[in-house]
Symmetry: D2
Subunit: 436 residues, 4 copies
């Protein structure tokens, strides 16, 4: 009934919960520990001071992310399901609830950066407390309750992974505002190569199906799988590059109202946009701020940190359009789930490899689609607090697809629907062109 | 190339332009004069002082509407097409351009209420000047240019009619803010009757087509006609009533976050919404402000002046949902184009008549759909200033269908797509439920 | 105990109330009618549409001024003192109370421009109703109550005169925002002459007295008269001219932070100030907007519509300072109460005449002083609603002295304390330099 | 000609610079080290995370204070005066300049909390670098340059002490916003006693002098000493207590517009003020947040963290008024420079001791006066960047006198003029009544 987690044949990231067994439980415990540790590893590159930074209301401090994902397990798994569980600190519910109205009042979002206490050390203790209890819970829950619990564990772990990406997005934004331009990690030696020519791949029209199917985990917003009619279309073989985007700028892209949606143009004027986020003008050449610090702009790399408005304006300027999310999913249906994802440790998009067919569908950058984020036909949000996870955000946002260089590798799916408001630029968003 | 106006068999509101003839031209002249006069008649109920009112940036003064629609004919028809035409006042282009970036800079929208000059008398002279020239243009344009011109005349007249509705929407909002609660017109004796029971009408799923077809006028956003797949669905036989909406309020509708989209709930909290726009609390009972002044709330009337957020929350509370625009159009396909439209002179929705089948599809109130306002597949906005008419607004808005009691009767179509931001309440918007 | 008005020897504008007599009452009736008619005459140059304009929250529509001063007489004189007086419209108290908390709630200030009803014609009827009752009240109040009543009539008439100046200030601001740059009145032929050289007039230090003395009317904030110590000082013989101010601009006046108070500099940056209000750049030369429309800037005229911040920065740039209000009053003590005031009908400052001694102390422009507006020693605001007239505004404002070309001639006094926030520019404020 | 520092007979806090000698230089070195160490000691109670907190644009993070005062010495003393001095980090000038326009551009004030880098450890190194160089500079500057340098050292040290108080004000505000209500220091056992009855002390009118005189250090705004005339007045013997202020609240103090200045009332309504800052409602009784955490409100303590508006409204309610700064200084002329200052380590005001005469004039709380903060007669700000220290803030602020429990003991003077905007509440401001 719920669209959350469960599975038949285990393919990779998720572990069969259906066939309950001691060794199965242990695999779940190991997966739990591995994903939780990954958050810790991401944060470990940052000082306690860095982990305090909240650069805008939309972003959160690293330490808050660490605590919030912990609160999620405590609130939705341990408190209701682990007999005798002792809440670590009763006051943390108020501090680390993100937006679950059903759970109760919460600390105002723009004030998350004001929480010097609890200290990072206390949050580490909180994580340890909850992790221990979770390992116990996974090991001891009765077989009859296991399937439902495993579904919640899966949700909690996917939630943790979403926050791993948010940690990187948010700290990139915060560090970029520091005039010292500090780096999150050392520069990673990356491939330097020219971008391959942009080719067009055609797809036939007709009655298609999109949406998640099967028992493996998905978020509720990826279901139900449903039919829809598409006219034939074509997709660009790779993402739009910085070099191509420079031509858009040089052609007056940010000064020509006729290229923009009305709301987009108002945003350009109000915010004074003249280039993507994180671009700056050097003396001789453009610079770009990355998680490895500032460096020279590489024209072969995909253009990143553009808003939907910019993606849409670029596509109009190029004489094309953005794909709908259905077109994207139909085109990606056969693609392998590999690409430049967070496991590579680059945390930055790379030039397209130049292989035949669709490139960069998975990883590198989330791809803005032309589709507003609404529920699929017959979608209904689950009841209760968990129902607030996705459904209530289905207005004024646009769908992005495919994952980025900061997305955990075992987190992405072809059916995955990411979403941001059309003016948002701090997500790792890029542009793939489509046409009729 | 353009999706604008022209037609084969004349059915009512539009006149055949294809078969050019002296009598045909005269019919166009008469139609032009009739629609322009209708604007004048709407404004004539208001004093010059009333016609100055601008109650918010989204609304405009009546006299500005009168001038802007005139500017539209002058700019897009007379100046390019009538040899020797003398622009009435060169400065009016700046004052009365609404949002056409391609035409040049313009007076800031929120300052339209600051234009005591030109006076209403000068604007009347402006209208007379342009109307005379337009009659001449229609009568004299060479046959070879007639078809294109007629298409533009059609657009200008439909534009005039849109502003007739805006005049009523905007003046209602402005007068409502006056503590004296002045009436735009005398109370009209209206039918008092109970609302019929809500019934459900079923529609089959399958491959459907929506969008405008044929030669009669439509706006560019109603095309191209295209195929889409629908699962079977059902629609409520009539609009939701004030009485039903009172039950939603009594059940905590405005206090229960779980019923709302996240942006909607933020709006409820920020704006302090506790009821639809224009409702107020009397001593013993609810009152409602109408264009005929304030009066007692009638539970049998359709609930009006709700936002998309309220419509959506109501539907969730009722256990149903809103229709998509495609569902609405498929269901309405066979409906007659009649209903409580502006020609009845009521300017207020009426209780449903109680006939079998779908009621109130046309007129009474625009019906919020679940569909974000985006372009149909293969839609491209026309080139040039006219291309700004619809296309650039395709973000952050929701589609409404069916016309309202303030919509000119010969202006509405089954394929007509109205659109407003989801928080807007000053449009005459109501709720029709749908379900799977 | 109240500091309000009345007098022994009648010198000009005020009429002896102490010696009650039929002819004395008649003189008061005539004065009442004359001052009330003057407001009407000011408004008569404007259309009903013009009289609707409210260009910012600080300004009010002309028709609102006409109604508010009428409400003042009705509320503070007729209702409590005229037996059997019938309030014209009970709802007007809410609409036309300006800021008297003690009288009750009121229409929000920024929404005064939304009052198309009552119409200007209704407000004229309101004025006639109240004027008739006031004439009757003045003629019939018993002798024993006359002295107190005359004091209130005096206050009401001075209040009316303050609003006459506000009508001109506010409509100038509103018309200036209209791209058509309409004129309030025809250009008045004015003297064209060079400004005389700036001379310095010295004044001795010592123990001085300032503040109102005697029985003639004054506002409560002009009393009590009190002693204070001044060091010797000198005042410039005339106001700073446009030509001198142009040199300040040319020397980077609006770009050099070191010339400004911190709050002033923040205002310059935030508002983008580059010149006084109402200045604009023409093709060849500067233009200035006046109540007679736009015209070429005259370097000999006093610079007008500067804020306190600009006056203070100019003085620092010039190596001088602004006078304190005590210095100004001590210097002006012997000055004649004549100058370019509203009775001349110019409504615009004129070049200094070039006579010896202090020029332009009265009229032309209000002169910004270095004195924050606070109560004089032992000042206490009167009890009740009338006590709100001046006392509660004694924070965050600066004192201006001397009247302007829009100030009624029989309204100004040497002891008169005008006040505006330091960033305000729509008052007719100018600069007189002082030094040690 | 500068009003800065120097002295003849050393009385306490400052050390004679005039009589240059090796031992004299050593005393200056020791004083320098002691005051710099005191900042370090204040910060040492806080974690690096705490020291990141910036709770509002008016406040700064602790670590920023530590760096900024260091920048002050580097910029105004070391760079121009120590031959061969190596600037610690060229980029710190941009980061740690507070408001000196003459020195160059700077990091936006509201973004000081975004500076996780440089780390607190780096700032400690910065302090050590500058401290070492300062000790060398004091020891080696040639005798001929000593007097001017000592004056700058004095300014730098007084500046450091001002920031010591700001550290405590700012961290109190930041910690108060944390729902965990963390304490800066352990509760200090404080005297519990009833407040003595309020008595009135009379002072004669006449010609008085105020302002700094002599060679000891003062800020430029305390000079020149000058004559002024005062009418006789009286001062309350002690500060207003929490208990007295509770009576004001109970009598509708925050609900009665007639008690307030207009700007004050607007602030009360806009901010929803119902009590002083840091007060909260407990179940049975009021609580107050202090630097030692939250505790029960003591009615005998002076009411603290009120704005000028609240002080002024309280005085009006009590039938009295606030003292002018001249009255305060004349009354305090003979007072000893002792009281509850920061050296006691309480950081919180205490009940008045009950001695005869004026109590609590020095320490406990800054006392709001009725005097706007403007320059004394003949005051001129010094030239150059140092001239920005005080002069440019002379608008829209009110003077406070006497120091508070967070003010360093050797920093306060009778002539000391503190200043804050009238709505500010995070300073340790209290109320002393005055009357005619």
């Amino acid at each position: 009934m719920t669209s959350l987690a469960r599975e038949g044949t285990d393919t990779g990231s998720t572990v069969s919960a259906a066939a309950d067994s001691a060794s199965g439980r242990q695999i779940w415990q190991e997966r739990f520990a591995a994903i939780r540790d990954a958050s810790h590893a991401l944060a470990a590159r940052l000082s306690p001071e860095d982990q305090m930074l909240q650069s805008m209301a939309d972003a959160s401090p690293t330490k808050w992310h660490l605590a919030h994902t912990t609160w999620f397990f405590e609130t939705f798994l341990l408190a209701p399901h682990l007999p005798g569980y002792r809440v670590f600190d009763e006051r943390f519910g108020y501090l680390f609830n993100s937006y679950y109205e059903a759970v109760g009042p919460r600390h105002p979002r723009p004030s998350r950066g004001m929480l010097s206490r609890p200290s990072l050390a206390e949050i580490a203790a909180y994580r340890a407390h909850v992790d221990g209890a979770m390992i116990a819970l996974i090991g001891t829950v009765p077989a009859g309750a296991w399937l439902e619990l495993a579904s919640l564990v899966d949700l909690g772990l996917n939630h943790e992974q979403q926050h791993q990406e948010l940690i990187l997005m948010d700290i990139k934004h915060a560090l970029s505002l520091n005039p010292l331009q500090p780096a999150y990690l050392l520069p990673v030696p990356a491939e330097r190569r020219a971008a391959p020519p942009l080719a067009w791949i055609e797809f036939p029209g007709g009655l298609h199906e999109i949406g998640h199917v099967g028992e493996a985990f998905c978020f509720d917003n990826e279901a139900p799988r449903h039919r829809l009619w598409l006219e034939k279309f074509r997709l660009a073989s790779r993402l739009v590059t910085n070099g191509e985007y420079l031509a858009f700028i040089a052609d007056g892209g940010y000064r020509r109202a006729e290229l923009w949606l009305s709301d987009g143009w108002a945003t350009v004027c109000r915010e004074g946009w003249q280039a993507p986020l994180y671009w700056s003008d050097g003396v001789d050449e453009r610079a770009i701020f990355t998680l490895s610090g500032a460096r020279r702009l590489d024209p072969a790399e995909p253009v990143s940190h553009v808003s939907h408005y910019e993606a849409e304006a670029y596509a109009r300027w190029a004489g094309n359009r953005l794909p709908s999310e259905a077109e994207w999913e139909v085109a990606a249906a056969g693609a392998a789930l590999s690409g430049n994802l967070a496991d590579r440790g680059l945390y930055h998009p790379q030039p397209a490899p130049g292989a035949p067919g669709l490139q960069q569908m998975i990883g590198d950058l989330w791809e803005w689609t032309s589709s507003p984020y609404i529920g699929y036909p017959r979608y209904r949000a689950p009841k209760g607090a968990i129902g607030e996870y996705n459904g209530k955000f289905m207005s004024n946002q646009m769908v992005l697809r495919g994952g980025a260089a900061v997305t955990p590798a075992d987190h992405i799916r072809i059916t995955y629907r990411n979403f941001f408001p059309p003016a948002a630029r701090w997500a790792f968003g890029g542009i793939r062109l489509a046409d009729d």
